[in-house]
């Protein structure tokens, strides 16, 4: 179910003196099973972009085509679109409202009019997908859970719609390292096991570089760069000019190459760089 974004432009309050262009002629195609890392600093248009993908915002011009259907056209059933494309907002735990976890997760499936058995099946499945124990947690109030658990429940609420594409807007914001790692692992497993397409908005290069299959870099409403992490991290100057950096390991590798050491181009993970340095060390056998 590919998503085609064609010449998407969005201006807030287009006819007022406060008018601001949030998206400027963005073109992008997302294929099935991709894991897209959407990068850019605050105000670059990432959040505006993802809100167009499930029809929460309407473009000023341009189209979004999901599975052959232009969702920006009038009269399109937005419920159908939202069944296919799940969107997890920033700090999603702030949207929880039901008395019990199970009821809250069931909210989405109920809205799309599923049978009770189907709802129950999906709720169980979704809670298990986010790494929580259904029997222990289903009947508890979401408001008495820990912050990390609440966030998982909120993500389960979107997964229970069984979308083909899952969009996460900074899913690790405000979490400590342990909480962040466990959410990232959960997302990694989700992508691996269910093959669902994932679009993750982030401004943390280190997080995204180990997860995404492709990066999309936004700045001032425009898409300035896209490619595999390896390709993108070689554009260090461009990334820095839009307020982003490269992972420290990539930076080290680049500095070593600049200093004349024989290290392959385009390394960016810690493991790769450590391996390359050790290989170099081995070659120079006891050179120190």
């Amino acid at each position: 179910m590919p998503i085609q974004i064609e010449h998407l432009t969005h201006a807030y309050m287009p006819d007022s003196p406060f008018s601001a262009v949030a998206l400027d002629d963005v073109c992008l195609t997302i294929e099935d099973g991709e894991f897209i890392g959407l990068l850019g600093h605050t105000g670059s248009g990432k959040t505006t972009l993802v809100q167009h993908l499930n029809g929460l915002l309407k473009p000023t011009s341009g189209r979004v085509v999901v599975d052959g259907l232009d969702i920006t056209e009038k009269g399109v059933s937005l419920i159908e679109v939202r069944k296919k494309i799940g969107l997890v907002f920033q700090y999603p735990e702030y949207q929880l409202f039901e008395e019990t976890v199970a009821k809250d997760v069931a909210f989405g499936p109920k809205n799309i009019g599923l049978s009770d058995e189907e709802i129950d099946r999906r709720v169980r499945h979704a809670i298990q997908l986010v790494g929580l124990n259904y029997d222990k947690i289903a009947e508890r109030s979401p408001f008495e859970l820990s912050g990390g658990q609440m966030r998982r429940v909120a993500i389960a609420g979107v997964l229970a719609m069984e979308p083909k594409v899952l969009i996460l807007d900074e899913p690790t914001a405000g979490l400590d390292p342990a909480g962040r790692n466990s959410i990232l692992n959960m997302i990694r497993n989700l992508h691996k096991e269910s093959g669902i397409t994932i679009i993750m908005v982030s401004h943390n290069m280190d997080d995204i570089s180990t997860l995404a299959t492709r990066l999309v870099v936004m700045s001032k409403g425009r898409m300035v760069l896209t490619g595999s992490p390896r390709e993108v991290f070689q554009q260090r100057e461009l990334l820095e000019s839009v307020g982003l950096g490269v992972p420290q390991a990539a930076q080290l590798a680049e500095e070593l190459i600049a200093a004349g050491y024989d290290i392959p181009q385009g390394l960016y993970t810690q493991e790769e760089v450590v391996e390359a340095i050790l290989a170099l060390h081995g070659k120079g056998a006891g050179a120190c």
Binding site: T42, P177, G179, Q248, Q251, L252, E255, C288
Partner: protein, 284 residues
């Protein structure tokens, strides 16, 4: 007048939210030197935020003593004086700004202290200048970015002329640009105005900028030292649910692979310098 006193001293402090509950802070003793920049690092629920609230009498210790500039926080009549000396900035930028205009929010603490109006104007201008927000003095706070809001909150504390600035996870909700911005502002205040800073965080990048890091775990202090001393113990820091600087971790792996690197590597610059020394030029 309190210059010769320690800005903050904790003597065997414990605190429990409820009488029978496990203590959130247990037997913490800590002395903060005047003019220092100390980071308190720990994962969520390690007690670091509770500790912060003990430091300006928002909570009173169940056991032990907290001294702010020599004043015991348990002395009721000194509580306003203590809060003036130990100013605090909280996590959520939106939930600590009271007024509808930036300069009036900075005035809030001064109004509470009964500072005369003419004096207030002077202090507000100075405080806003110190956090580089002079141009925003007449703006509405809700239109500012997260980092700018936090700087307004810092100005509000600064106007009260505190000895100690407690940043209680004040960057946890900001984007990287806002975090860097707030950290730089506070470092500058520490350097140029000599204000003692207690920086509470779970971000190791921020803690690495401090003079001293106190690592909390399960309500007690589990490590205490300079950033290099703390982060060279990669395994221990990781076991406490925290990150270590990527270069410190890589240095450990390289050491295990046989490279003679020191324990002092925190950033790319450090790493590059040592690698250049130990990778022979013959391998080029």
């Amino acid at each position: 007048m309190e210059n010769n006193l320690l800005p903050l001293e904790l003597k065997d402090v414990s605190y429990s939210y409820e009488p029978d509950a496990a203590p959130a802070v247990s037997h913490v003793s800590l002395t903060i030197a005047p003019g220092s920049f100390v980071a308190v690092l720990g994962h969520n629920g390690c007690g670091k935020s509770t500790l912060a609230k003990l430091m300006n009498a928002l909570f009173l210790p169940t056991e032990g003593q907290v001294l702010v500039c020599g004043m015991d926080t348990a002395t009721e009549e000194k509580v306003w004086n203590i809060r003036r000396h130990a100013g605090m900035v909280f996590q959520n930028p939106d939930n600590q700004i009271v007024a509808n205009v930036v300069r009036e929010d900075v005035a809030f603490g001064l109004e509470n202290l009964g500072v005369p109006q003419a004096e207030m104007e002077k202090r507000i201008d100075a405080a806003l200048a110190a956090v580089h927000m002079t141009d925003f003095a007449d703006r509405a706070p809700h239109l500012l970015s997260g980092g700018q809001k936090q700087r307004v909150a810092i100005a509000g504390v600064l106007a009260m002329e505190p000895e100690l600035l407690i940043m209680d996870e004040a960057t946890a909700m900001l984007d990287p640009a806002g975090r860097a911005d707030v950290l730089e502002t506070v470092r500058q205040l520490n350097r140029e105005k000599g204000i003692t800073v207690l920086w509470i965080t779970h971000f190791m990048e921020e803690a690495a900028q401090a003079d001293r890091i106190v690592v909390m775990d399960k309500g007690s202090i589990s490590m205490d030292g300079t950033p290099r001393e703390v982060f060279s113990q990669v395994e221990k820091v990781k076991s406490l649910g925290l990150d270590v600087p990527p270069m410190a971790e890589m240095a450990m792996e390289l050491r295990q692979g046989g490279l003679p690197l020191s324990n002092d590597i925190l950033n790319v610059g450090d790493m590059l310098k040592e690698l250049k020394q130990c990778l022979s030029k013959s391998s080029i």
